[in-house]
Structure formats: structure tokens, C-alpha cells
């Protein structure tokens, strides 16, 4: 697997200015409208390197959800349940009021 630095053709200890120059050179080589895949890879590498520069802060503050699960069916069920509850409580409320 190519490292982000390899992708931009620079050494792992390149200074931020060098990273940017290399990134711009790659943009010239792979314009987004003619080389979308290469462009995306170049951009991903650039993002990764820049993120690395600030990774120390990020790791500490990065509160990602532990688990992300997906099921809109259950969403619907839960919503219906919740709505049903509201309905009932409304009925009860009316009953209790009168």
C-alpha cells in the first residue's frame, strides 16, 4: 500500500511547505476533470498528511460514537410506538380532564 507521502512523492519528514508544493504539482498532473480517481487519491493523501500534523489534538478530542447501527424499520416502529404512546396519553388526558 502506498503511503500518503509516497503518493505525493515526498519524504515522510517533509515540511508543510514542501507538502503543499508537491500537492500542487500533483494537481497539475492529475486535473479533477480528466483524472478523477488519481485526483481523489492525491487529495486523500494530502488530507491524511495534514491531519497527521494535528493528530495529537484530534485523538484526544475525537469522541466518535462507539457503535453506529442502522435500521430505519426499527426507527419507524419506535416512532409509531412513541406516537401511539402520545395518542394514548392524549386520550387519557382528555378522559381525566372531563
Amino acid at each position: 500500500m502506498t503511503s500518503p507521502h509516497d503518493r505525493l512523492g515526498i519524504s515522510p519528514d517533509a515540511a508543510p511547505a514542501e507538502v503543499k508544493t508537491a500537492y500542487h504539482a500533483k494537481l497539475r498532473e492529475f486535473p479533477a476533470h480528466t483524472h478523477p480517481e488519481e485526483f481523489k487519491a492525491v487529495r486523500a493523501a494530502y488530507d491524511a498528511i495534514r491531519k497527521g500534523e494535528t493528530a495529537k489534538d484530534d485523538d484526544f478530542l475525537n469522541v466518535r460514537p462507539l457503535e453506529v447501527t442502522l435500521d430505519p424499520d426499527s426507527l419507524k416502529q419506535l416512532r409509531e410506538k412513541a406516537l401511539a404512546q402520545i395518542d394514548i396519553s392524549l386520550d387519557e388526558l382528555i378522559r381525566e380532564t372531563f
Partner: protein, 585 residues
């Protein structure tokens, strides 16, 4: 090599530009005007009017004229013009077709390709509607690019030092702010924010309401609420707004706005710039908040900005310049052509795409976050309906991103992927882009079946979402290429294009038959006067009524080509007559 144009399709005005020998220039119409008002209408005889001609009749015939259609792009709002209803992209197509004709006449060659700009904050549906309009107009739309970005490309820096530039774009109907980094020929957007329903039109409307209020105070009654009166007041408000950009005071005079018994009522008022500023201040505060969010998204402080560029006609309002300067501690850069730079930038990008020798590399971002509805584990248990962002706003495009999700129940057989666009943590509060299902998942305990959701967003703003079950490889996918509006098939587009061509040709036929008989059309001002005179006629005594009828007959004779008296003289006679008649009554 075929050439491609760049088009700024604005709320109020539109322009078309081309690159020649590496230099961009805006192409003039036959009248030499670089600007085409984004206004479409039909004359009394059914002749199609586009631009200044249509705008001229707006006051007199608002029911046959439409402007600011851009505000409705991406919706199915219908506009009745003459005997037919038009969708927003159909009206826009008429404007684009007119710009195409303008370019072809100016360059004496046929033009088939274009880059069209949209506000950076336009949604997917609004972008697609714009692209469709371009296709109906007969263009191959090479790319839809963002207006502030186009302005930044046009802004020729020619410095290898990196400059950070804030582009503040306030037009007739939309507002955008973009933070851009320019290094040599590379223009990279760091963040964009905006409001698709904020612009000069809103200032006009506030001032129009203010004028109505003044009228009510002066006469103790409301201005009649009919389309013609509203259109007149809106034009008056717009003119007053423009005057107040260069003057501290302006006088508004509108005669015959209404009547009380037999007395005609006029509006005459002095508006101070400060009055106008008080009306629009709350709207401008919103734009400052947008600046702050764009800066924070770009992780920059106001001090980090090297330059502020103002784009769009509304930025001529002095208060805007002052507010930006005091908010950011820096005066905006002079010497930008706020009306033309977007079209110029679009033409440069068009040049790049067709291989002209243009040094411009554009790196743009997606303005809205893209993601799906998902259940998330929270301190209160698993809660469904959250918006799980896959492509965060301000990601560079084109972009591909994936996230892995897992099933919520034991033996869950299907997952439904609902795709949204927006920033609200509750999925349903965002703009729905579509949904699809992945079925026949392997029967396993909750959480052990993993589904990878892959988003692919290309340069043309087309989003493809693919979901793949990691074990067995079940797949489902969705191509979101048009939402909100009915997606036109290529057949429907060619049909619409043929209809549009017919409209333009029929227009030429009417024009040539009209030139056979020398019929003079009345100016909108005169038409309004004549209409008013007719309504007034009943309330006059016989002598006055005869005098009026005589005047009207003379005007009619000129209009029918049976008399060569000077219409302007007759018009001023009629004005005087109406003025005194209304006084006496």
C-alpha cells in the same frame, strides 16, 4: 477546437463570457450591453421578450413578465406567462438560449458547450435544474461551478505566495461566502456557506413595504393590492435602493397609486439612506454569521485573511462594505468588477476544460454534508433516526468516502439506506435525496452483519451511493442525479429544446410581420397612463371627458401608424391633464 463559453446565470442579471488568447472577456449583446437582465416576458402580440425589453414592460404587464426566476430553481413552482405555464428551469432555459444567441452573434460561430455558475450554497436539486436548463437551451453543460469560486479564478493574483481570500457574494437573490486559498494558478476553496434566499430582492421588498406604509400614513388608506401597483412600487423601491448607494437621500414620486372618491392619490416621500439601512440591517447580520461559520470551517481567524473580495450588485450598498470592514477589521479590495467577474471566471474554467491555454486549477468543495439515517448508541440506549455524515461539508470534490454500519436486530434481513443532505443531527430534518434497500442479508445476531456504505460524489454533483454486505456481497445502489424536480429523460429534454426553438423562431416571425406595418408600440409608462385615463374618464364632466377622449384618440392614431405626431408630447399632455383633472376632482 470548439470553443466553450462561461455563463453567470444570475437572479437579476446574466452574462456570457469567452476566453480568447488566454484572456477572458464578457460578450456584449447587439445593443452593446454586457449585461442581460434575467427577465422573460411576452409582448401584447405574443412576441417573446428577453432581457431589457422584458424588464421594460414588467411594470405595465407583470402578468406577462417574470423576473428573479432563479429563486425558484429546483422546485416545481409554475409561472403563468400568457397562455402557458412554465417551470423555473424552462424560464432559465429561455435566458440561457438568449445568451447562446448573443455569444454566437458576437463570435460569428456556433457555440455548443458551456460552464454555468450557481451559488455555492445551491442544493443538489437546484444544481440539477440549472444543468437541465442549459441542456434545454441547447448547450452541453461541461461543468456547473460555484459563483464565488468563479469570481476567485477571475481575480488575477499572479503571485506565488499563498493568499487567503474571503469572497463575499451578495446578488439579487442569493448570498454566498467562500474562503479561498490562492497559490499561483491553484485556487482552492477551503469552506463555503450561504443562504439561497437572501439578496437584493429582499431589500427591494422591505423598501416596498416601507413605501406602502408611508402611503398609508399620508392618505389614511392602503395602496391598492393589485399586480400592476405592486410591480410599480417594487420598481420604485429598487430605483430608490440604487440611488441610496450613492446619495444620502432620495425622493420617491409615484403618481396615481390609488384614489379616494374622485381624488387620485400620489406618493411623494423622501427616503434617507439611514431609513433603508435600518430596514436591511437584520438581514445583513445573517451574512456576518455566515462569514464566521465559513472562517471557522476553514479553521482561520479574520486576521489570517489577506484579502476580501466583494461580488454581486448588492455589495454596492455602502452599509455592507462598512459592516464587513468593522467585522473583519479589514477593508474589502477595490477594483473588482462585481457584475462581471463571475462570468469571466466561468469562461476561464470553460477554457481549461476544452484545452485552451489557461493556467487555472480549481479545487472546489461540497457545500452541504451528505449522509444516511442511522441508529446510534447513546447514553440512553440505541436511538434511531440520527444523521450519520459520510461526506462532511466542505470536502473537496470529486470525493469518495465509505462508512461501515452493522445490523440492529438478530436475523435482520434487510437494511434501508436513506440518503440525506444537510447539517441537522436528526436525519429527517435534512433534505432527503432518496433511499434504497439491501435485502437477503445472512441471518446472524444483531451487530454481526456489516454493511459498507460508499458515497461517490463527482465533479458534476452526481452522487452515487452503494451499500455492500461484507460477507455475502449483497449490494444495492442509488444514483442521485436529480431530486426535488422531476428528472427529465433525454427525450423530454430534446422535446423541450424543440419547443424552445419554436418559441424563438415564432418570435422572429412576429418580429418580421410587425415590421411590415409600421405599428408603434406604446411605452409601458404611456400604457399605464392610458389605462388610468380610461378609468378616470367616467368621473369627468362632459367637457373634460371630450378633451380626454380627443387626447386618447390622437395617441391611438399614432400607435396605429395613422399619424406622425410626437408621442412624447402627447404623453406629457396626458400627464398634465390627468394631474389637473385629479386635482380638481
Amino acid at each position: 477546437m470548439t470553443r466553450a463559453v462561461g455563463i453567470d446565470l444570475g437572479t437579476t442579471n446574466s452574462e456570457v463570457a469567452i476566453v480568447e488568447n488566454g484572456q477572458a472577456r464578457v460578450l456584449p449583446g447587439e445593443d452593446g450591453d454586457l449585461i442581460l437582465p434575467s427577465c422573460v416576458g411576452f409582448s401584447e402580440t405574443g412576441k417573446l421578450l428577453v432581457g431589457r425589453e422584458a424588464l421594460r414592460q414588467y411594470e405595465a404587464a407583470p402578468e406577462r413578465t417574470v423576473k428573479s426566476i432563479k429563486r425558484w430553481m429546483g422546485t416545481d413552482h409554475k409561472t403563468l406567462l400568457g397562455d402557458r405555464e412554465y417551470l423555473p428551469h424552462e424560464i432559465s432555459a429561455i435566458i440561457l438560449r438568449s445568451l447562446k444567441q448573443r455569444a454566437e452573434t458576437a463570435l460569428a460561430e456556433s457555440i455548443a458547450q458551456a460552464v454555468i455558475t450557481v451559488p455555492a450554497y445551491f442544493t443538489d436539486a437546484q444544481r440539477q435544474a440549472t444543468k437541465t436548463a442549459g441542456e434545454i437551451a441547447g448547450f452541453e453543460v461541461l461543468q456547473i461551478i460555484n459563483e464565488p469560486t468563479a469570481a476567485a479564478i477571475a481575480y488575477d493574483l499572479r503571485s506565488e505566495e499563498t493568499e487567503r481570500v474571503l469572497v463575499y457574494d451578495l446578488g439579487g437573490g442569493t448570498f454566498d461566502v467562500s474562503v479561498v486559498e490562492i497559490t499561483g494558478e491553484v485556487t482552492e476553496v477551503l469552506a463555503s456557506h450561504g443562504n439561497n434566499r437572501l439578496g437584493g430582492d429582499d431589500f427591494d421588498r422591505r423598501l416596498q413595504l416601507h413605501l406602502k406604509e408611508l402611503f398609508r400614513k399620508q392618505h389614511g388608506m392602503d395602496v391598492p393590492d393589485d399586480p400592476v401597483t405592486n410591480a410599480r412600487l417594487l420598481r420604485t423601491a429598487e430605483q430608490a435602493k440604487i440611488d441610496l448607494s450613492t446619495h444620502a437621500f432620495t425622493t420617491v414620486r409615484e403618481a396615481f397609486l390609488g384614489s379616494k372618491g374622485k381624488t387620485a392619490l400620489h406618493l411623494e416621500a423622501e427616503i434617507a439612506r439611514t431609513d433603508f439601512e435600518n430596514l436591511i440591517h437584520p438581514l445583513l447580520d445573517e451574512t456576518l454569521e455566515a462569514i464566521d461559520r465559513a472562517l471557522s470551517d476553514a479553521t482561520l481567524q479574520p486576521d489570517d485573511l489577506d484579502r476580501i473580495i466583494l461580488v454581486g450588485g448588492s455589495t454596492r450598498i455602502p452599509l455592507i462594505q462598512h459592516m464587513i470592514e468593522s467585522h473583519l477589521g479589514q477593508a474589502p479590495t477595490d477594483g473588482i468588477q462585481p457584475d462581471l467577474c463571475v462570468a469571466l471566471g466561468a469562461s476561464l474554467q470553460a477554457g481549461v476544460l476544452v484545452g485552451e491555454a489557461v493556467d487555472a486549477i480549481l479545487v472546489d468543495v461540497v457545500p452541504h454534508s451528505l449522509g444516511i439515517a442511522a441508529a446510534m448508541s447513546t447514553p440512553m440506549g440505541i436511538v434511531p433516526g440520527f444523521f450519520s455524515v459520510v461526506v462532511p461539508r466542505n470536502s473537496v470534490i470529486p470525493v469518495s468516502r465509505s462508512e461501515v454500519y452493522s445490523t440492529l436486530f438478530d436475523s435482520q434481513e434487510t437494511v434501508e439506506i436513506e440518503v440525506f443532505q444537510g447539517e441537522n443531527p436528526i436525519a429527517e430534518e435534512n433534505v432527503p435525496l432518496g433511499s434504497f434497500k439491501v435485502e437477503d442479508l445472512p441471518s446472524q445476531p444483531a451487530g454481526s452483519v456489516q454493511v459498507e456504505v460508499h458515497f461517490d460524489f463527482d465533479l458534476n454533483g452526481i452522487l452515487t451511493v452503494t451499500a455492500t454486505e461484507k460477507g455475502k456481497g449483497q449490494q444495492g445502489s442509488l444514483i442521485v442525479s436529480n431530486t426535488g424536480v422531476h428528472r427529465l429523460s433525454s427525450h423530454e429534454i430534446s422535446q423541450a429544446r424543440a419547443d424552445l426553438e419554436a418559441l424563438f423562431e415564432q418570435d422572429e416571425a412576429i418580429e418580421s410581420s410587425a415590421s411590415d406595418s409600421p405599428i408603434v408600440t406604446l411605452s409601458p409608462e404611456l400604457s399605464v397612463l392610458v389605462d388610468r385615463a380610461r378609468t378616470l374618464a367616467d368621473s369627468l364632466d362632459d367637457e373634460q371627458a371630450d378633451e380626454l377622449q380627443d387626447l386618447l384618440d390622437q395617441i391611438e392614431a399614432v400607435a396605429e401608424g395613422n399619424s406622425d405626431e410626437d408621442l412624447e408630447v402627447l404623453q406629457s399632455e396626458l400627464e398634465d391633464f390627468l394631474y389637473y383633472a385629479s386635482r380638481e376632482n
